[in-house]
């Protein structure tokens, strides 16, 4: 039997989350098949075929999958589900949208946000905003899992490309229609996969002053994140949000500036390797988990930080 991994992509390139999901899939010790469904997405299939450990790539190239609508994707995945004992996707908004629909149609449960694979049907995943870890055993024949990508290493090795098999599936197209995308443009590294993340909170006071965070991020080659307070106050768009209800990140270095450290926020970043907190309130909860804390006015400290980084080249 085999494991199926649903590839997240934008029809041009594979999303890095797929490499972490593959890492979890390989722990199930079965042949791994990657499913690339999209429109004019041959390049994605070629990328996928070259990742170490991939047994086969199935390519379904059809305009019906251009925007990967849950209704169409679920129908496709169900039509091939018979050949697999596990079906995996990253626990991104992409995977979370599609997989529960698949699980319900297959009449099986789903384990969300798997952070550790214990064996082929026993998994760990965080609950209560990461304040507890639950170990669960699925009793169904097919395991449907979304993978917390920050908990698994990215497979970066390559192999000589495996076979890409084109599949044609006629589907009953859903009545749901794609209207438009409004994507945030950013030159910086992607928040979900960046090595360094600099996040700002309510302490930044305004959208204008939040630019200071962006300057610090640029000096470090880092991605920019934000607390829910900063997003709700309109300093930055919502896809910057790190936390239980936003993105879960686990970079090598996380710098929290003007963020008090509410449970909601900590759930999104407490697995970072090194955490730095810059805050004027010595009692802020963020200092309880920060490896290095700096107490003081961020409007003095951050410019000094940037200056010293630049001086050191």
């Amino acid at each position: 039997m085999s494991t199926l991994v649903i590839v997240e992509h934008d029809n041009q390139s594979m999303h890095p989350a797929t490499r972490n999901t593959l890492s979890a899939a390989l722990e199930l010790k079965q042949n791994v098949v990657l499913l690339v469904a999209g429109y004019q997405c041959q390049a994605v299939a070629e990328q996928a075929a070259a990742i170490a450990g991939v047994h086969a790539v199935w390519l379904v190239d059809n305009v019906a999958y251009e925007h990967q609508l849950a209704e169409n994707m679920a129908q496709l995945i169900i039509s091939v589900a018979d050949s697999f004992t596990s079906i995996l996707a990253p626990a991104s908004t992409f995977g979370k949208n599609i997989l529960p629909r698949v699980a319900a149609k297959l009449d099986v449960a789903q384990v969300s946000d798997v952070s550790r694979v214990l064996d082929k049907d026993t998994f760990e995943h965080p609950i209560y905003a990461g304040n507890a870890i639950e170990t669960v055993k699925t009793l169904d024949a097919i395991k449907v899992l979304t993978i917390r990508t920050t908990a698994f290493d990215s497979v970066t090795d390559s192999q000589s490309p495996c076979c890409v098999e084109r599949i044609d599936k006629s589907i009953h197209e859903s009545s749901t229609k794609f209207v438009k995308h409004e994507l945030s443009k950013s030159e910086r590294p992607d928040l979900g996969s960046a090595k360094i993340v600099v996040s700002g909170g309510r302490g930044l006071q305004s959208a204008e002053k939040f630019k200071l965070i962006e300057e610090l991020a640029d000096a470090l080659g880092a991605a920019v994140g934000a607390s829910r307070a900063a997003v709700d106050a309109g300093f930055v768009p919502n896809d910057y949000q790190v936390g239980q209800t936003g993105k879960i990140v686990a970079p090598t270095l996380y710098i929290a500036v003007g963020i008090s450290g509410a449970v909601q926020h900590l759930a999104g970043m407490k697995d970072s390797k090194v955490i730095v907190a810059i805050n004027k309130d010595e009692e802020a909860p963020i200092f309880q988990i920060a490896n290095y804390g700096l107490v003081g006015d961020l409007f003095e400290l951050v410019p000094e930080f940037i200056q010293q980084l630049k001086a050191n080249g």
């Binding site: 991104s92 789903q110 507890a132 639950e134 409004e182 955490i275 200092f287 920060a290 700096l294 010293q308």
Partner: protein
């Protein structure tokens, strides 16, 4: 049209949870409980649709023990017209919850189901998608903007790279994200009025559903704790530590 809003009673989001010493779960005895915050947003959206004459009746539904009536009374105080408690004394997995809700949605001939995108206890983010699948309805998940006109929905979704807008016909299942709206507070007169609104109790066993066990919880343990760090006195000391001690720069 009738709107079904599914709500859940959870540990209040501001309570620091305690894990039972035998690792069988989380302590819920004598702990403050509330309506799941995402569900409050779902109720609010339903009430706003009714205020715009887009809805006839709002039916709040929950599955749980008798204490869940409190959560339903809160939903009624916020503007739901009536409520249904599907009484059960066990915890169900998302799939079984979706099956119970499907039964209620069918009975009530609802055309729209609104529910939170996830509950803050299990953090699963599954039930709305599963319900949509069972009903064979389209789904709009993580919605931050909702327009309903002529039996059509236009929903803007919060996705990882920004926003995405979809259009779909009713009936549909919509799951709410944080920024869809700012839920109102229940006023005292509305809390009083809610006491007189209808609240039906249905025994889960009477629904005639076969709900098998799909998931077994083995244990619930605390997450690995981080060792406390140090405070540095200056930016240059911080940079030094990051470079030579932590070696992350």
């Amino acid at each position: 049209m009738n709107i079904v809003v599914a709500v859940k009673r959870v540990i209040d989001p501001y309570v620091k949870i305690r894990i039972k010493s035998d690792h069988t779960g989380v302590e819920t005895q004598n702990i403050k409980m509330s309506m799941n915050p995402f569900d409050e947003i779902a109720i609010e959206e339903a009430v706003r649709l009714k205020e715009k004459n887009n809805a006839k009746e709002i039916i709040a539904v929950t599955i749980g023990n008798d204490a869940s009536q409190e959560t339903l009374r809160h939903a009624l105080a916020l503007g739901a017209d009536r409520a249904i408690l599907v009484r059960a004394n066990k915890n169900f997995c998302s799939l079984n919850i979706a099956k119970i809700l499907q039964n209620i949605v069918d009975k009530e001939k609802a055309e729209l189901v609104l529910m939170g995108k996830q509950s803050i206890d299990g953090d699963n983010n599954q039930t709305p998608q599963m319900l949509a699948a069972l009903l064979n309805w389209p789904q709009a998940t993580f919605v931050s903007r909702l327009i309903i006109q002529d039996k059509m929905i236009e929903a803007t979704r919060e996705i990882d790279g920004g926003l995405e807008t979809l259009a779909m016909p009713l009936p549909a299942v919509v799951s709410t994200d944080l920024r869809l709206n700012e839920p109102r507070y229940a006023s005292l007169p509305n809390i009083m009025k809610a006491k007189r609104k209808p609240l039906d109790i249905i025994e889960c066993d009477s629904l005639g559903l076969t709900l098998k066990e799909h998931i077994q919880v083995i244990s619930t343990t605390p997450p690995p704790s981080r060792s406390g760090g140090i405070k540095v006195a200056s930016v240059s000391e911080l940079l030094n530590k990051l470079k030579f001690e932590a070696k992350v720069l």
